[in-house]
């Protein structure tokens, strides 16, 4: 399981699937929804892997699987090479912690900052009240929140301050891996930059590993050193950030990047020609899932699903246009 670059992955998924049975309507049979279908990802120590894709592509389900909150239907998740199936939820939580999008709903409004930040310690039965108090002070200092907020309640704080509390709670157990699911989407521009700066500093100081899920590609480009692009439950392209933004290969990645409105006046709004809608995940298209929206679709695309092609270490593209590249080594 050694990676090509010689570093072991701290977190790895191997061909992970997650299928939900959803009701299709009154008196209709339940149908399978393949939220994640065959995702293999590696997260290396100290890196930031960006995960991008439209809503409904399965990125949040994948995040829940990595956090141990959702059992995969097939495949396995490994932490330091150890399958998480053998670990209990608390052992996973010690190593992997989340930061969610909306600090308005991810913090209990009835609890003080002190209670919120110390909850993981209490759940894990670590230390006593004196330790908790000391730890909370330490964490607030770490996320640069004045100590006087210790007894405040979430509704007395601004969005940025709440997100700092959420970060403090995530880090109080000193996890190695933090899953950031849209960490700044609910925040204002000037607050977003503060939180991103904080995440960068914390990564440097604590050696954290991030999985950064975001629909804001400018943020991903700024924060991540590698990016995986997800479409209908599969990773369709994965490479280092530089290459992805400079020479995107998968037509979906190209369309996604073309949709980004960078603050450059005069360029106008691009016509992405992606068609009106994201496909219904209950009725995924045949062959390549992207073919109905693809500008480069060929006859074969509607019939045969492309196999993932490995074009380098941790570099992957899943598209018939690149079928001459070497096939993925299992």
């Amino acid at each position: 399981m050694t990676a090509a670059c010689g570093i072991d992955a701290v977190l790895e998924t191997r061909d992970v699937h997650c299928t939900f049975q959803v009701g299709a309507g009154f008196l209709k049979a339940r149908r399978p929804l393949r939220a994640v279908s065959g995702v293999s990802l590696r997260l290396y120590k100290g890196e930031s892997l960006g995960l991008v894709g439209e809503s409904g592509c399965g990125k949040s389900t994948l995040a829940r699987i990595l956090l141990g909150l959702q059992a995969p239907t097939a495949g396995e998740v490994l932490i330091d090479g150890q399958p998480t199936g053998t670990l209990d939820q608390r052992a996973i939580a010690k190593r992997v912690q989340p930061i969610f999008q909306d600090p308005y709903s991810s913090l209990n409004p009835r609890k003080s900052v002190e209670d919120i930040v110390s909850l993981p310690l209490r759940v894990h039965g670590l230390g006593g009240p004196a330790d908790w108090r000391r730890k909370v002070a330490e964490m607030l200092d770490l996320v640069r929140l004045p100590l006087r907020y210790r007894d405040s309640f979430p509704n007395q704080m601004s969005g940025g301050q709440r997100q700092r509390v959420a970060i403090a709670r995530a880090l109080v157990m000193r996890p190695e891996i933090v899953i950031c699911d849209e960490p700044t989407s609910a925040l204002d521009v000037s607050v977003q930059s503060q939180i991103l700066n904080l995440l960068l500093d914390l990564q440097k100081d604590l050696g954290l590993t991030y999985l950064l899920i975001s629909h804001n590609l400018a943020v991903v480009e700024h924060m991540a050193n590698r990016v995986a692009v997800m479409y209908l439950g599969r990773i369709v392209e994965e490479t280092d950030t530089e290459s992805l933004f400079r020479t995107p290969r998968h037509p979906y990645t190209k369309a996604l990047l073309a949709s980004v409105l960078t603050p450059e006046p005069g360029l106008g709004v691009p016509d992405t020609q992606l068609g009106v809608g994201y496909p219904n995940p209950l009725e995924p298209p045949s062959g390549c899932a992207f073919h109905p929206r693809c500008a480069s679709a060929m006859p074969t695309c509607s019939g045969v699903a492309p196999a993932p092609r490995c074009t380098g270490p941790d570099e992957l593209v899943e598209c018939h246009l690149y079928s001459d590249a070497a096939p993925r080594v299992a």
């Binding site: 439209e54 809503s55 601004s158 204002d188 521009v189 000037s190 977003q192 930059s193 503060q194 991103l196 700066n197 960068l200 629909h215 804001n216 590609l217 400018a218 943020v219 480009e221 700024h222 924060m223 050193n225 950030t241 933004f245 400079r246 020479t247 995107p248 190209k254 369309a255 996604l256 990047l257 073309a258 949709s259 980004v260 409105l261 960078t262 603050p263 450059e264 006046p265 005069g266 360029l267 106008g268 709004v269 691009p270 016509d271 992405t272 992606l274 009106v276 809608g277 994201y278």
Partner: protein, 344 residues
């Protein structure tokens, strides 16, 4: 070019609330036909209330005052609620952020589209239905006739926002106010919706006010820009002027906060604006931004800061001299530096 909408000295206050809460103070702007004015600012700056004030949709307890508030040459301030209702949805329409909450879940798309038309036009139902189908096709909804019988919950977010645009266009308005129309949508759908809005604006020769917090949208969509901070317009200008040489310290700071490919380096700190927005109660006694401004000095406290006009349509609310401004190398050339690797 005469302005379709002209607003001067618009102030919105909530008397009796927290000792005179005034979230919008002395706001000036105008919109011409065929142009897009982007009002940009962070939450609480008063941009949405400004839009609601123009539409006459402020909450009951809010008080609106303005030196001038004209739409198509007509003074909106003296109008009765009934007269305002005739204009609203007909001559000026609004598109909100979340289409699911602005569409009625209990009625079909068709009923809601047709209702708007019948309310304002002397028309019969078949004519209204034809217009609805025509507009649904124009906003890029396939199988438009079938969609008329569907309910909002049966459509995706992108389709619902297209429906909202079609509804706004039903009566052929002169002005569309879009308040964060794409914030709830994916980037791919956002680009499509904004592309659609721009092309329809050209075809129908409408004025558009687009309210957003996203500087990327502003750069790509705006003809002119009004930057709002703490209830005031702090800077106005054409999109090129504002992005090439932002004058107000707030605009400058805001532009340093966002990652821009070609300017910001991966993993480096972004700019940030320390401090918090002031509470807009009573007289703030001077510049609203002074507590967070790197250039603040004694003169910034005291009297209201007047708008310094550079030329018609270009101005900023700051005491600093124009030539001491500008951000060297802030933004890469519009067509040079930042290519973002986007395929042509």
């Amino acid at each position: 070019m005469s302005a379709i909408l002209d607003v001067q000295g618009l102030t919105i206050s909530f008397p009796g609330m927290r000792g005179g809460f005034a979230p919008v103070r002395d706001v000036d702007f105008s919109v011409n036909r065929g142009e897009t004015l982007c009002i940009v600012g962070e939450s609480g700056c008063g941009k949405s209330l400004t839009a609601l004030a123009v539409m006459g949709l402020l909450p009951q307890r809010a008080q609106r005052a303005a030196r001038r508030l004209t739409f198509g040459g007509r003074d909106l301030q003296g109008l009765s609620e009934r007269e305002m209702a005739d204009i609203r949805g007909s001559r000026m329409s609004m598109i909100f952020q979340e289409p699911m909450t602005s569409l009625n879940p209990a009625y079909t798309i068709g009923e809601q589209l047709v209702e708007t038309y019948l309310r304002h036009k002397k028309a019969r139902r078949p004519e209204a239905v034809d217009r609805a189908v025509h507009l649904l096709e124009r906003v890029g909804i396939p199988a438009a006739t079938g969609r008329l019988r569907q309910y909002p919950h049966q459509l995706s977010g992108g389709l619902r926002q297209r429906i909202m645009i079609a509804m706004a266009l039903m009566c052929g308005p002169d002005l569309i106010i879009a308040d964060e129309p794409t914030t709830a949508l994916d980037v791919t759908i956002q680009a499509q919706i904004l592309h659609l809005l721009k092309s329809l604006q050209g075809q129908f020769h409408m004025g558009v006010i687009l309210i957003t917090h996203d500087l990327g949208i502003v750069a790509r969509v705006a003809t002119r820009v009004a930057v709002m901070y703490a209830g005031q317009v702090v800077e106005t200008g054409t999109v090129n002027e504002v992005f090439a040489a932002p004058m107000h310290p707030y605009t400058q700071a805001l532009m340093r906060c966002i990652p821009i490919p070609g300017r910001t380096r991966r993993g480096e700190h972004l700019g940030s604006i320390p401090g918090m927005v002031p509470t807009l109660v009573g007289d703030l006694g001077g510049c609203h931004f002074r507590n967070r401004c790197t250039y603040a000095h004694d003169a910034c406290v005291g009297a209201e800061i007047p708008v310094r006009a550079i030329h018609d349509g270009r101005g900023y609310r700051c005491l600093r001299e124009p030539d001491s401004h500008g951000l060297d190398g802030l933004l890469p050339d519009a067509h040079g530096g930042a290519t973002h690797g986007i395929p042509a």
